[in-house]
C-alpha cells in the first residue's frame, strides 16, 4: 500500500509541467544521442551537467534519467540498421537485428526493439518501485565471491552463443578474455600487454572494440560486396508491424530479458552490457527458435533490448539507495545530486521521497513518451537505408570517429578502432563470430578482478566460493548448466547430429 501511495505521490510530481518538459527533453535527447554511434548517455549527461545546476533537483534527475534510458532506445536503431552499436550495450542487438535488416525486415526489427525496450523499461520500473529496498540489501550482500559466481554462470551460459563451429566459438571467447587482460593489472599495478603505450594502460575501451568489430568491419565487408556489384538492402515497406506469430515469439524473451536485466542492473558494477549479454546467452539456451539466433531471430532482438532497458531503470537502485554507482553515467548522477547537497544513500528514500518517487513515476511517463516517439519514426529510420552508400559510408565513418574520440578525447582511440575494424573484417572473412568474443571481453576482466579480490579477502582459501550461501547456490547452478549442456550434447551426438553446432556449415 505504501508503494502505491508513494507512486501516486510520485506521479503528481512527475506530471508537473516542468518535470514533464524536462522528461521529454531528456528522452528526446537520449534517443538522438543513442542513435549516434559511440556517443552514449555518458557524453550527453556530462554535457547537460552544467545546465542542471539551474534546475530543481527532481527536474534535473528526471532529465538525466531520461537521457540515460532514452539512449538505450536509440542505441538499438543504429545496431539494427547499420550493424553499428549506438551504445555499448546495444552491440548485442546487432547480432540478430542487423541480419533482420538485411532480410528486408528492418522495420519489424525496430518495432520489436521499441516494444521490447518499452516492456523492459516498464518491468524495470515496477521492480524498482516494489523491490528497491530489498534489492539494495541484496546488492549489499554481494561481495566479490558472489560477483565471481554470477559472472561465471553468465560466461558458461555465453559459451553457447556461437552459431558456427564450437571450436571457433570457444576460441573467440578465449580471445575476448585475453583482450580483456590488456592494461594495468588492477590487483598488482603491473602493466600487461601495453607495449609501452600510455593510452593502453587502462585497457581497450568497450566502445572501441564494439565500433571496430561491428561498425568498421561491416563497412569494409559492404564496400567489398558493393564493388562486386551487390544491391542495397531490399526493404519491405508493407511490413513494419510484427505478425501475430512474431508478437507471440517476443513475449517470453521480453519477460526473461527484463528479469535478467533488472537483476544485473541492480548489482552495482555489472550494468546494461553484461545484462544484455547474459540475457542473450540464456535465451539462446532456452528458446525453441534457438537455431535461428544470429541469423535474424526476432527473439534475439527482443531479449537484449528488454534486458538493457530494464537494467537502465534498476541501475538507479544502488545509485540512489546505496550511493554506489554501477557505471560512469551513474557516477554522474551522484555528482549531480551532490551539487544539490543531496547525498545518495539509504536515507534518500525517506529524506527525499518526493525525488525518489517522482523519478520512478517519470520512468513510466518517459517510456510512454519514448514509445510514442519511436514507433512513428520507424519508417523514417528505415528510409535511411536507401541513402546511396557513397554518401552513407563516409558519414558513418565520420560519426564513428567522433563517437570514439568522445570517449576519452583521444585520437589514439580512433586508430585503435581502425585496427579492430580490420580484425572484424578478417573475422567475418574466416567465419569467426564476434558475439562470443564480445561477451568474453565484457565478462572476463570483471571475473578476474572479483576472483582475485575474493582470494585476497579469504586469504587464499578457495572454499569460500562454496561455503557462502549465495555464491554456493550460483556455483551449483553453473555446474548443473554445464552438466545439462554436456548431456544434451551427448544425446544429440547419439542422435547423429553434431553436438554444439546449432546452425549452418
Amino acid at each position: 500500500m505504501d508503494i502505491l501511495t508513494g507512486f501516486g505521490q510520485g506521479l503528481l510530481v512527475a506530471l508537473e509541467p516542468v518535470n514533464l518538459l524536462y522528461c521529454f527533453i531528456g528522452v528526446f535527447l537520449g534517443t538522438f544521442i543513442g542513435v549516434l554511434p559511440g556517443i552514449g548517455s555518458m557524453a550527453a549527461i556530462s554535457m547537460l551537467l552544467p545546465l542542471t545546476f539551474h534546475l530543481d533537483p527532481t527536474a534535473a534527475l528526471v532529465m538525466i534519467a531520461g537521457v540515460y534510458y532514452g539512449a538505450e532506445y536509440g542505441g538499438s536503431i543504429a545496431s539494427v540498421l547499420m550493424n553499428i552499436p549506438g551504445t555499448p550495450s546495444s552491440s548485442i542487438t546487432c547480432i540478430d537485428g542487423y541480419p533482420m535488416a538485411r532480410d528486408g525486415r528492418a522495420g519489424i526489427a525496430l518495432f520489436a526493439s521499441a516494444v521490447a525496450s518499452f516492456g523492459g523499461g516498464l518491468i524495470g520500473m515496477v521492480v524498482m518501485a516494489v523491490l528497491a529496498p530489498a534489492l539494495a540489501s541484496l546488492a549489499l550482500n554481494f561481495g566479490p565471491t558472489e560477483y565471481f559466481a554470477v559472472i561465471l554462470l553468465g560466461l558458461v551460459a555465453a559459451s553457447a552463443v556461437s552459431n558456427g563451429s564450437p571450436v571457433k566459438g570457444i576460441a573467440m571467447v578465449v580471445a575476448g578474455l585475453m583482450l580483456g587482460t590488456v592494461g594495468v593489472d588492477i590487483t598488482t599495478g603491473a602493466e600487461r600487454f601495453t607495449m609501452g603505450i600510455p593510452e593502453m594502460r587502462d585497457g581497450v575501451h568497450l566502445v572501441i572494440v564494439a565500433m571496430g568489430l561491428f561498425g568498421v568491419g561491416e563497412l569494409i565487408v559492404s564496400i567489398r560486396a558493393n564493388a562486386a556489384g551487390a544491391h542495397q538492402n531490399a526493404i519491405d515497406y508493407a511490413r513494419f508491424y510484427p505478425s501475430r506469430k512474431e508478437w507471440k515469439a517476443m513475449a517470453g524473451p521480453v519477460w526473461r530479458g527484463a528479469g535478467i536485466g533488472s537483476f544485473f542492473g541492480a548489482l552495482p558494477g555489472t550494468g546494461q552490457t553484461v545484462a544484455s549479454a547474459v540475457a542473450y546467452a540464456v535465451e539462446k539456451k532456452l528458446s525453441p527458435n534457438r537455431a535461428n539466433f544470429g541469423k535474424g531471430a526476432i527473439e534475439g532482438v527482443a531479449v537484449p533490448e528488454a534486458a538493457n532497458n530494464s537494467a537502465t531503470q534498476t541501475a538507479f537502485i544502488p545509485t540512489l539507495t546505496l550511493g554506489v554507482p554501477g557505471s560512469a553515467s551513474m557516477a554522474l548522477v551522484i555528482g549531480a545530486l551532490m551539487m544539490y547537497g543531496i547525498v545518495p544513500g539509504p536515507r534518500l528514500l525517506v529524506d527525499h521521497s518526493d525525488l525518489f518517487w517522482g523519478l520512478v513515476a517519470s520512468f513510466l511517463i518517459g517510456n510512454v513518451l519514448l514509445l510514442i516517439l519511436n514507433i512513428p519514426m520507424i519508417g523514417l529510420w528505415v528510409r535511411l537505408l536507401q541513402i546511396p552508400y557513397r554518401y552513407m559510408y563516409p558519414t558513418i565513418i565520420v560519426l564513428i570517429c567522433v563517437g570514439v574520440y568522445s570517449v576519452n578525447n583521444n585520437v589514439f582511440d580512433i586508430w585503435l578502432t581502425l585496427a579492430f575494424g580490420w580484425a572484424g573484417y578478417l573475422m567475418r572473412l574466416f567465419r569467426f563470430e564476434p558475439a562470443p568474443f564480445l561477451i568474453g571481453f565484457v565478462l572476463g576482466p570483471m571475473m578476474e578482478e572479483q576472483l582475485r579480490r575474493a582470494m585476497l579477502l579469504s586469504r587464499g582459501d578457495a572454499s569460500v566460493f562454496l561455503t557462502r550461501p549465495i555464491s554456493g547456490t550460483l556455483i551449483a547452478a553453473t555446474v548443473l548448466l554445464l552438466a545439462w549442456s554436456l548431456f544434451a550434447a551427448m544425446k544429440a551426438r547419439r542422435a547423429g547430429r553434431p553436438a554444439l553446432a546449432l546452425s549452418d556449415e
Binding site: L140, G143, G189, G269, P325, L332, I334, G335, R347
Partner: protein, 319 residues
C-alpha cells in the same frame, strides 16, 4: 586620489609575487583539463571554477575531461599545449606526485613541463574499521594486524589510499593485506557487506556512514584534527608522522608569462574566497590554503620526494 589609494590597497591585499588583479587573462575561451571522467569531486571543482571565471570575471572557460592512465594522458596533453593561458589542468597527486615514481617512463616532467599556478586545496583520508570489530583505537588495530592479519581496501594500486596504507605498514611495522578496488565506492560496498575489515578513504565522503555508525574512523592522516569530526585523532598525535593529503591545484604548460600566471593565480584566489565556493568545498571536506605560485611549485616538488619511497614500496610489493 582616493580611488587610487583604494586600488593600491586592494592590490596590496591581493598581491601575489607580481602585482596583478583578478580578471580575464585571455580573449580566447580557456579549457580546464580534468584528469577524471565527469562526475567526481575533481570534475565538479573544475566546473565551479569555470562557472565563476565567467560569471564574475568574464573569462570564458570550459571543462575538458581527458581521463586515462592515472591522469598521465591529460598531463601529457597539457604539457604539449601552447603556454598562452588557454589550456590549464586541474592537477592532483596522480599525474604529478605519484606517476613519476609509479611509472617507469613518463612523457613529461612534473616540474619542468608545467607552470604550477595555484593551489586549490586538499582533503584528507582516514582509516576506517568495522564498528563491531572490537577495534577502537590504532593500538587495537596494530594488535589485530599482528595476530590475525587484517584486510584493507584502497581505491586502487598506486592510489593515494594505497600509499597511505603503505605508509602505515612502514611506520607501524605491520603488514596489512591490501585489497585494491577501482575507486572507493566498491571498497565501501564490500566493507558494508562485511567481507572487508578496514579501508582508507576521504573523511568527508564518509560522513553519513560515520554518523549512522556503519564505519568507525580511528585515525586521520591530516596535520590537524578535522572540524567535521574533532574527536578523531590524527596519526601524528598518536606518535606516527603520517600526513597524506589529496591535493588539487591549477597548472598550465611550462612557459606561461609570469604576469598572466599572476592574474590567473589571483583570479583563482578570488573565486576560492567567495562564500558559495567556500561552503561547497567545506561540504566536500576540502580545505583551501592560500599559496603563492612559487610555494605551490615547491609543494609539488616536495611531495614527489617525500612520497617516492612509499610509492616505490607500494609498487614493489604490489599488494
Amino acid at each position: 586620489m582616493k580611488q587610487f589609494l583604494l586600488c593600491g590597497a586592494a592590490a596590496i591585499l591581493l598581491a601575489g609575487p607580481a602585482l596583478a588583479e583578478p580578471g580575464k587573462w585571455t580573449d580566447e575561451p580557456v579549457r580546464i583539463v580534468v584528469t577524471f571522467p565527469p562526475g567526481g569531486t575533481s570534475d565538479l571543482i573544475a566546473r565551479i571554477l569555470a562557472q565563476y571565471f565567467e560569471s564574475e570575471f568574464g573569462q570564458k572557460a570550459v571543462v575538458d575531461n581527458r581521463p586515462g592512465a592515472g591522469g598521465t594522458v591529460a598531463a601529457d596533453y597539457v604539457a604539449q599545449q601552447a603556454p598562452d593561458g588557454t589550456t590549464l589542468i586541474l592537477g592532483n597527486n596522480a599525474p604529478f606526485t605519484i606517476a613519476p615514481t609509479q611509472f617507469d617512463s613518463l612523457p613529461y616532467d612534473p616540474l619542468a613541463s608545467f607552470t604550477h599556478i595555484a593551489y586549490l586545496g586538499a582533503s584528507t583520508p582516514a582509516l576506517f574499521v568495522q564498528p563491531d570489530s572490537g577495534i577502537a583505537s590504532l593500538d587495537d588495530y596494530v594488535e589485530v594486524a599482528r595476530t590475525d592479519g587484517i584486510t584493507y581496501g584502497s581505491s586502487g594500486v598506486g592510489s593515494i589510499t594505497h600509499i597511505l596504507g603503505k605508509a602505515v605498514d612502514i611506520d607501524l611495522g605491520i603488514e596489512q593485506i591490501h585489497v585494491p578496488y577501482q575507486g572507493s565506492a566498491p571498497a565501501i560496498q564490500d566493507f558494508r557487506a562485511g567481507v572487508l575489515e578496514a579501508y582508507y578513504d576521504m573523511l568527508a565522503q564518509n560522513r553519513d556512514l560515520i554518523r549512522d555508525g556503519e564505519a568507525l574512523p580511528i585515525a586521520l592522516a591530516a596535520p590537524e584534527r578535522s572540524p567535521l569530526f574533532p574527536e578523531i585523532p590524527t596519526f601524528r598525535e598518536l606518535g606516527h608522522d603520517i600526513v597524506v593529503e589529496n591535493w588539487t591545484g591549477l597548472s598550465g604548460p611550462a612557459g606561461i608569462d609570469p604576469e598572466m600566471a599572476a592574474t590567473i593565480h589571483d583570479t583563482v584566489e578570488a573565486v576560492m574566497a567567495m562564500q558559495p565556493v567556500v561552503d561547497q568545498l567545506a561540504e566536500w571536506g576540502i580545505t583551501h590554503t592560500a599559496m603563492s605560485s612559487e610555494d605551490f611549485t615547491a609543494f609539488v616538488g616536495g611531495t614527489i620526494e617525500t612520497w617516492a619511497p612509499l610509492i616505490a614500496a607500494a609498487k614493489v610489493n604490489g599488494g
